[in-house]
């Protein structure tokens, strides 16, 4: 970040202001994967109204800041999710909503990704199955705290997807 490299007082203030802007205008991508997405929709609906906090859902990842992974990420969706994440402009954050997204949840099966943090870096985990809207809002508030504390974008990490020798014999 160009103006954030030096650490003068003014710049710190600028940083602070920017961080304020960012955390108060978190636009998530409206992508729902499974049951948790329903609760995510409820969070956005009148009863809990994320718009209060400046959170409005955007259709395109190019215009969003947060990826709320709401639901089970199966292996087949993993590369797509990764792509969506990559397509988002920095600075960006990831909330992993519900057990499935965070750690495979109740589906320790052949087809479920055991945690999205294997493909994209996660900032906040929200346990629950599904987390209630209040729990998700709490997660979002936690994310805001995190942004406030960190004040800078995330570092980029190369994601290693490589085939390894199977740990035990395959029976086809």
């Amino acid at each position: 970040m160009a103006i954030m490299n030096n650490n003068g007082i003014i710049l710190t203030t600028a940083e602070e202001v920017l961080s304020w802007g960012r955390r108060n205008s978190l636009w998530p991508v409206s992508i729902g994967l499974a049951c948790c997405a329903i609760e995510m929709m409820h969070t956005a609906a009148s009863r809990f109204d994320t718009d209060r906090l400046g959170i409005i859902f955007r259709g395109s990842p190019r215009q969003s800041d947060v990826l709320i992974v709401a639901g089970t990420v199966v292996n087949k969706v993993a590369p797509m999710l990764k792509l969506i994440y990559d397509q988002m402009p920095d600075p960006k954050w990831v909330i992993s909503m519900g057990g499935c997204a965070s750690a495979g949840g109740p589906f320790p099966t052949y087809s479920t990704l055991q945690g999205v943090d294997r493909i994209i870096p996660v900032d906040v985990y929200v346990p629950g199955c599904p987390p209630t809207p209040q729990a998700l809002l709490w997660g979002i508030l936690e994310l805001q705290k995190k942004i406030k504390a960190k004040r800078e974008g995330k570092e980029f990490k190369e994601i290693p997807i490589k085939k390894a020798e199977p740990s035990f014999p395959i029976n086809k």
């Binding site: 409206s30 992508i31 729902g32 994967l33 499974a34 049951c35 997405a37 329903i38 609760e39 409820h42 609906a45 009148s46 009863r47 859902f57 259709g59 639901g71 089970t72 199966v74 292996n75 087949k76 969706v77 993993a78 590369p79 797509m80 999710l81 792509l83 969506i84 750690a103 109740p106 589906f107 320790p108 099966t109 052949y110 087809s111 479920t112 990704l113 055991q114 945690g115 943090d117 294997r118 493909i119 994209i120 870096p121 996660v122 199955c129 599904p130 209630t132 994601i159 290693p160 997807i161 490589k162 085939k163 390894a164 020798e165 199977p166 740990s167 035990f168 395959i170 029976n171 086809k172």
Partner: protein, 583 residues
């Protein structure tokens, strides 16, 4: 009873030598040789006295020790007899004839069987993977495939270190994940580009109601050809079912059709109860009926909201969610969780109705019709709404049978197929309600039918509440049955209960050997459970016949020649839920 017996088809029986009838008490079925299967099915479909025209389900069961290994199971429904039939056949050389010539609805079911078991279907037009991607090597539902898959990919967490994790949580090796090339291959296999451009619509798209992946071959904005790729939410539920006890599977049924969790619960539990010969208490039945109908309203509200949202009426979405929020509040108060409530238990319900629940529901019943009126004022006669809906996606009656469409989609085309009517479970035979039928079968009819269904459901809820007010002191779960888990209070005071609880938890409900197919009327169509028990604590095979899976199948047919804008209308009016289509 709802099952076809020997006598019903005796008059054609002689033509097929290998036809065998097995009169199981719970699921009587016919067995026939593979080479006679197609003629037999054709005969019973076209015989005017039988007319097994409606395709219900097809699945496969794997018996590794038997030779041949796989058995195909067909379920059909006759319009004349008003009965179902179950036909089984062994797949010689892991091959079966394809039924796609007789029923188009068999197309996906066969692809699923191919995907999950690796059975080849002769005569299938495009036998590609249904749920998994193209270069996936295994057939997951085979008995020798481990539930957790083959972990052969090194895929550690990006922001967690193994040491910092609780030991039971985390493995660095993972099952195979497709690469972008794999996915590209998958999509290229599905559709041959004929027109100008192939557009991917979904899976991660706001308008596709979850993660359905459509491929549209577009000419301008017109869809010339379309295919659907499913499996973006394939979580292996059927595999899980084989590895957990009957009770433990209940929470998973919530997560299939997560919008109507209680309905799925009830459908499953009913099937299991039938298998175990458990009779739930009176009160439990009424509670179930009531919650099912509440859940149906809930589900239809979500449908209405998202449908309206897709058609641009942004505010309706929020209004329906307001009402949903109320129902969720009720369910949360009764069951403890808003969405995936897992409230139903074998033999009854988990907890008794809390104090005040009926008051709140009464309140809701009074309040809801005015809200429904509001939605109707905004939508029903709106010219834009009419323009978008009338005449779009007309489904003929013939197609309903052909594709095995059920639920509101079938009823909008004038087919009075409602499980609540033809095979009432719980208390559906004692409540008073009407089944709305459409006359044209377009999206507008589907809209009207669902709106009317909400009213009818409300009516049912009202009757249930009245009944339940009288049943205050009944037991909510039939704990005297040996298969029913005791309640907490019983466990605390009696040692027998504790032992029974202990046994059931550890060994599972050891159901008698047998099979059962029972379905419930989900908001999305017939949700059937086909359970094979081998006398163990866990089911040998659980097949889930999902309404949305079959309903979605007609989509490519309907969209042909229409624009993308119609795709949302059609998809919305078919109302699939991916959790259920993919399982």
């Amino acid at each position: 009873m709802l099952w076809t017996k020997q006598d019903d088809i005796a008059f054609i029986g002689d033509n097929f030598e290998s036809l065998k009838f097995v009169d199981n008490e719970k699921l009587p079925y016919f067995e026939i040789n593979q080479n006679e299967l197609l003629p037999f099915l054709k005969e019973i479909k076209e015989n005017p006295n039988l007319q097994f025209k409606m395709f219900i389900d097809f699945t496969v069961a794997d018996y590794p020790l038997h030779k041949p290994r796989f058995q195909g199971v067909y379920f059909l429904y006759s319009l004349i007899l008003k009965k179902r039939i179950c036909i089984k056949t062994w797949a010689e050389n892991e091959r079966l004839p394809s039924l796609t010539g007789l029923w188009k609805g068999a197309k996906w079911a066969e692809r699923e069987a191919y995907d999950m078991f690796g059975i080849q279907f002769e005569g299938h037009e495009n036998l590609v993977r249904m749920f998994m991607w193209e270069s996936y090597q295994y057939y997951p539902l085979r008995k020798d495939f481990p539930i957790e898959g083959i972990k052969d990919t090194y895929l550690p967490s990006l922001n967690e270190k193994p040491g910092s994790m609780p030991s039971h949580d985390y493995e660095e090796y993972h099952t195979a994940i497709p690469t972008m090339e794999d996915l590209e291959e998958t999509e290229k296999k599905r559709i041959q580009k004929k027109a100008q451009i192939v557009l991917n619509w979904g899976p991660l798209h706001p308008g596709t109601h979850g993660t359905i992946w459509f491929l549209f071959d577009l000419e301008g904005e017109k869809v010339q050809n379309c295919d659907i790729i499913l499996g973006q939410l394939h979580r292996g539920v059927e595999k899980i079912a084989e590895n957990v006890t009957y009770t433990q599977f209940i929470p998973y049924t919530d997560r299939m059709d997560y919008i109507s969790a209680i309905c799925s619960n009830v459908a499953y539990v009913n099937a299991v109860e039938k298998l175990l010969n458990v009779e739930p208490t009176e009160k439990a039945k009424w509670i179930r009926t009531m919650l099912c109908e509440l859940q149906r309203i809930n589900s239809h509200l979500l449908w209405l909201g998202t449908y309206a949202l897709d058609l641009g009426a942004l505010t309706i979405f929020l209004y329906t969610f307001r009402e949903r929020e109320k129902i969720m509040d009720i369910i949360e108060g009764i069951a403890g969780i808003r969405l995936n409530s897992s409230y139903i238990r074998i033999g009854g319900v988990r907890l008794d109705l809390p104090e005040g629940a009926l008051d709140v529901i009464n309140h809701f019943i009074k309040d809801f019709p005015t809200k429904l009126e509001e939605y109707e004022t905004i939508l029903t006669k709106n010219r834009v709404w009419l323009k978008r809906n009338v005449g779009v996606g007309i489904i003929e009656e013939e197609d309903v049978y052909n594709y095995g469409l059920t639920g509101a989609v079938a009823r909008a085309s004038g087919v009075a197929y409602d499980i609540r009517m033809i095979q009432p479970t719980d208390k559906y035979d004692e409540v008073d309600f009407e089944i709305p039928l459409g006359t044209v079968g377009d999206s507008y009819d589907r809209y009207l039918v669902r709106m009317e269904e909400m009213r009818q459901s409300l009516n049912i809820v009202k009757q249930c509440v009245e009944k339940l007010e009288k049943l205050k002191d009944d037991k909510h779960i039939a704990t005297d049955n040996p298969y029913v888990l005791p309640t907490l209070d019983e466990t605390f005071i009696s040692i027998e209960s504790m032992v029974k609880d202990f046994n059931l938890r550890i060994y599972g409900e050891q159901a008698p050997e047998g099979e059962i197919y029972l379905s419930g009327e989900n908001p999305r169509g017939e949700l059937g459970f086909y359970i094979i028990s081998k006398g163990e604590g866990r089911p040998y095979r659980t097949r889930i016949r999902s309404g949305a899976f079959y309903n979605l199948q007609i989509f490519p047919e309907l969209i042909k020649g229409r624009t993308i804008a119609d795709a949302v209308v059609l998809l919305g009016s078919l109302d699939p839920v991916v959790g259920e289509t993919d399982r």
